[in-house]
Symmetry: C2
Subunit: 592 residues, 2 copies
């Protein structure tokens, strides 16, 4: 059986020693002193470990059940949902005027990592509501906000995102769902949507579907798509759930993982919908909350890696097999714990170095989102838009890889369902696919974000790298262990970007064939940058006589591992990019 | 729904154009003309595609059921099992004197790849019998051979391997199962074994368990383990199944995948066992068939990658989303097939280049096994012993990665159980774990095989590389595209081996911390070598006016992709090895 142990000391280190959030000048961050964040994260961690984690295998085993259009969630989910709502976690970063706690998004990201690690499928019910709340906040009318937000922020009502149809996932221009205007200003929505997470369930008294559909007569393709609010129960005059709307769950998907979350086929049969934002501008409205939603999925990758790693380390300390090559570590026992074996430790260190670096990267990303929104800082907005595909794609690819590596430590036991390790792998797998497959993230990065505004955000990122490389450069050991590897990786990143720029005009397929490698190269540089910052903070802490010297020394050792053994992957990615599109595009489709 | 399409043209190319098996001088290979191999592989491919593949999702969905000690396999398995036996596939490479077809192991490997691709869980029933037959052939007494082999070779009886116990998987020195000598020369076997594949099922009239156990009074650790034959039904005087023996299935494991294969907890309660080979030499006996068993697991990795790749390519040709960057490829349709997108093709080419290179590597390995056994060639024995951990570890790691990549092409559909792609991923996962985890393979490679006999086999392998690099060196394009990348990778391999040799004496943890990277480095060099050979054969075929020019050109293009985009990974692995054990071993166990 697996467990979950909240990484509270690591959160405190990243938030306060590395990111110095309280002094960052972002509105609302002045309240984030170490005591406050510790109290919030401690309580979230307790809930995650004690309430959500025990339900994780239950949700996997039972899944969701559909009967006569009603979906029953696994045993215990409804009770846990109520506890989460009662604690105010559903609206942690939502505006106080709608009943939220008004905390920065940063705190939602940090607590979210723990909730996901403990029970990814369960946490998705909140994640989707959060996305819908953000959309209504950004694009809803005053009436819509007043009707929906208070009931969604406290968790009484939940939300969904309805994009995909059988013939279109990535390519939303192919959407067919129709929205016929009605004399009263509402629309009749007709069509089928698939893979709708939390589309139907028994946790809330109402479900607010945000639906992309096409108003007849509008433009073809993505320019003719509008966004609608389609509640399961139409709010009555008091805003309470009234008449049942013409939307129903027609089936549940049986999936590889996240069984505790209901993935629904939703049928809209002349359902009443309310236009949100401008007609035909629905895709843009849906995509304004993309950075947050994609960072949320990146968090899932990291969070699955984190919990799997914890359990791998615990197993490796307990499982007795073989003897240490340097001599018995447990001479009175029948064998040594497998953590003595260098290859087991190599895997554990790869996992740990990724997880801690990725956590810092994700939290930094969350501060950029807060800076963009709370300080209305366009530079922060541009930078997080550039980093978002990296956070989503790199963290989910590597998070899955980390979960697989952690499962491997358990040997044969890791393959059995009872142990729980394989569930982390199955659950983690979806994060590479949804909210835009990682291939789409790479395309978005290379095709749109890298060159946006003449490459301004990318140059700003390179400036951050230069700043990091200049600090502590006079410390020879620090320079050798941390700065030189980051410098080499940073050169690889710039070389790749330059190749794209040079070859881009005449060879449109060149950059696209290298897009996935570029995303990974970029991800390694980001995590490398985080490790340089963390190492600098640890070094400063040790120099200042910090009381948590063991933690800080472990941080430095883990950072050295990332710089020496993980970051050199940038050279491979550059080599693959440099190889060009020739071999990639050489074959006819029929030759495969 | 997935399908399976047997890669018959590729088998013909590798067997005859690349390995020139008929002229290899290995006893029995003279019969392997192109017509004969095509007939055998064609029939095996038909069975795989038409009989086994349709049962693959059935087996996954139903799994095996245990009731009152009896195990029921999924619907259709028993019938398919009978068809396979009737066709002589169970004993394809078993000696004719025991009723086998007497074919080389090579043909077992080639047909095995197809049977595994079509239905890995089903094929395991034959795989385990095959291993037990090999063990009895090598170590059984004349009586044991006469009693068991004819009934196992034709598939009437099946076999198992009983090594693991709850407290020991890798570390077999911890085995506790006891074997008490009886006056009649037999032994009473008592203990519990876990994760016994095909331990109990309804496919055969008897099950022959090979069991590792400890005779009281013998040496401690691995030197005191003996190997026993423990049949489910004791053979009567005529050799037919007689009295029920004291062995029973006490439980089935619920696993991540291979649901169609029964993974059993086996309880031996004073069961009658018969010593096979010498007392206390059981581990050595069990390990003599290790090369074959491990190559068989390597085949599983390759085979899962192969079938997943086929289905990814087919989906990519059909699924319409988005438009090609170079202009519409399907202008009259709503969108282009996703195979036009460079990142989709990049993934498909990575998969294809691995699968075809790995197939050649595995078949080459199979010829080495035949050369070792049929020609009693110690050099071939030494070389295949060196390559076996690479075949097992590299092919299963990369086969899993390939299956994950293929699943990704399917987008959201790939995550649903109905599509079938996720089953390939779950099934492929076990191959990295059993028959010695891939960490153990790496340890075996670096700790034992690399330096065996003063490194003779490794030097022989380097000689093969030199030979390959000398051929066609006067063709400038061939040299640039194929020989130079192999030369670079070969240099990385030698540099890593030299580092191990130089640092080995004083730093025992240095090589072990780099073992996994060395295994991958070695694997890439082996597959790169195969690509050089295949490219040379394709080049010669095209120069000679071969009729399959399209196939040969595709082969060259796929080879170029491997050399340009996959093989450069060797530099990363060398960099990781060079980084040494320092960061790997830096932390206390408690710091994780």
């Amino acid at each position: 059986m697996t467990f979950y142990s909240p990484p509270l000391e690591d959160f405190a280190f990243v938030l306060h020693d590395v990111l110095a959030v309280q002094d960052s000048g972002i509105p609302g961050y002045d309240e984030l002193d170490a005591q406050t964040t510790a109290a919030i994260l401690g309580e979230a961690g307790r809930l995650a470990a004690e309430v959500l984690a025990p339900l994780n295998p239950v949700g996997d085993r039972q899944g969701c059940r559909l009967s006569n259009g009603d979906v029953t969630t696994p045993d215990g989910f409804a009770d846990a949902y109520r506890q989460m709502c009662a604690g105010g976690w559903a609206g942690l970063d939502c505006p106080a005027e709608y009943g939220g706690q008004g905390m920065p998004y940063l705190m939602n990201a940090a607590t979210g990592e723990m909730f996901i690690s403990a029970n990814m499928a369960f946490n998705m019910y909140f994640g989707l509501t959060h996305g819908a709340v953000s959309a209504i906040l950004a694009h809803g009318s005053a009436d819509q906000k007043a009707t929906y937000l208070p009931r969604m922020v406290d968790g009484r009502w939940s939300g969904t995102m309805n994009l995909t149809e059988p013939q279109c996932g990535t390519d939303l221009g192919l959407i067919r769902t129709r929205a016929e205007p009605q004399p009263d200003g509402s629309y009749r929505i007709t069509g089928q949507k698939i893979w709708i997470s939390a589309g139907e369930h028994d946790l809330t008294e109402n479900i607010v579907h945000l639906v992309l559909a096409r108003i007849p007569g509008g433009p073809e393709g993505v320019r003719g798509i509008s966004l609608f609010i389609v509640p399961k129960f139409l709010p009555d005059a008091q805003g309470n759930p009234g008449a049942r709307n013409g939307v129903a769950c027609a089936g549940l998907e049986h999936k590889m993982g996240i069984h505790g979350n209901a993935t629904c086929v939703m049928v809209y049969d002349g359902a009443t919908g309310f236009l949100m934002g401008e007609a035909h501008k629905g895709l843009r409205a849906m995509f304004t909350m993309m950075n947050e939603a994609r960072l949320g999925v990146g968090l899932q990758g990291l969070a699955m890696g984190a919990v799997a790693h914890q359990n791998a380390a615990a197993f490796a300390r307990e499982r007795l097999q073989g003897r240490a090559v340097a001599g018995p570590a447990n001479p009175t026992g029948p064998a040594d714990p497998v953590i003595v074996h260098p290859d087991v430790r190599r895997a554990l260190m790869d996992q740990k170095a990724f997880v801690e670096g990725a956590r810092a990267f994700a939290l930094w990303g969350a501060t950029l989102i807060d800076r963009a929104h709370r300080s209305h800082d366009p530079a922060a907005e541009a930078l997080i838009s550039l980093l978002t595909p990296v956070l989503k794609g790199f963290l989910t690819d590597k998070g899955f890889e980390t979960a697989v590596s952690a499962q491997q430590i358990w040997g044969g036991a890791g393959y059995t369902r009872a142990a729980g390790m394989e569930q982390f792998v199955r659950d983690a797998r979806i994060a590479m696919i949804y909210e835009g497959t990682n291939g789409i993230q790479a395309l978005d990065l290379v095709g749109r974000m890298l060159g946006a505004d003449g490459g301004q955000a990318f140059r700003a990122f390179l400036g951050l790298l230069r700043d990091a490389l200049a600090e502590n450069a006079d410390d020879a050991q620090f320079a050798t262990e941390f700065l030189e590897p980051l410098k080499a990786a940073s050169n690889d990143l710039q070389a790749a970007a330059m190749l794209f720029a040079e070859e881009g005009a005449g060879r449109p397929e060149f950059a696209l064939a290298g897009a996935c490698d570029f995303m990974h190269l970029f991800g390694h540089v980001c995590v490398g940058l985080m490790w340089v910052r963390m190492a600098a903070a640890a070094r400063a802490g040790l120099a200042g006589g910090a009381t948590n010297a063991a933690f800080l020394n472990a941080k430095l050792a883990t950072g050295r591992h990332y710089m020496a053994r993980c970051l050199p992957a940038t050279a491979l990615h550059l080599a693959r990019i440099r190889a060009g599109e020739g071999s990639v595009m050489a074959l006819d489709a029929e030759a495969f």
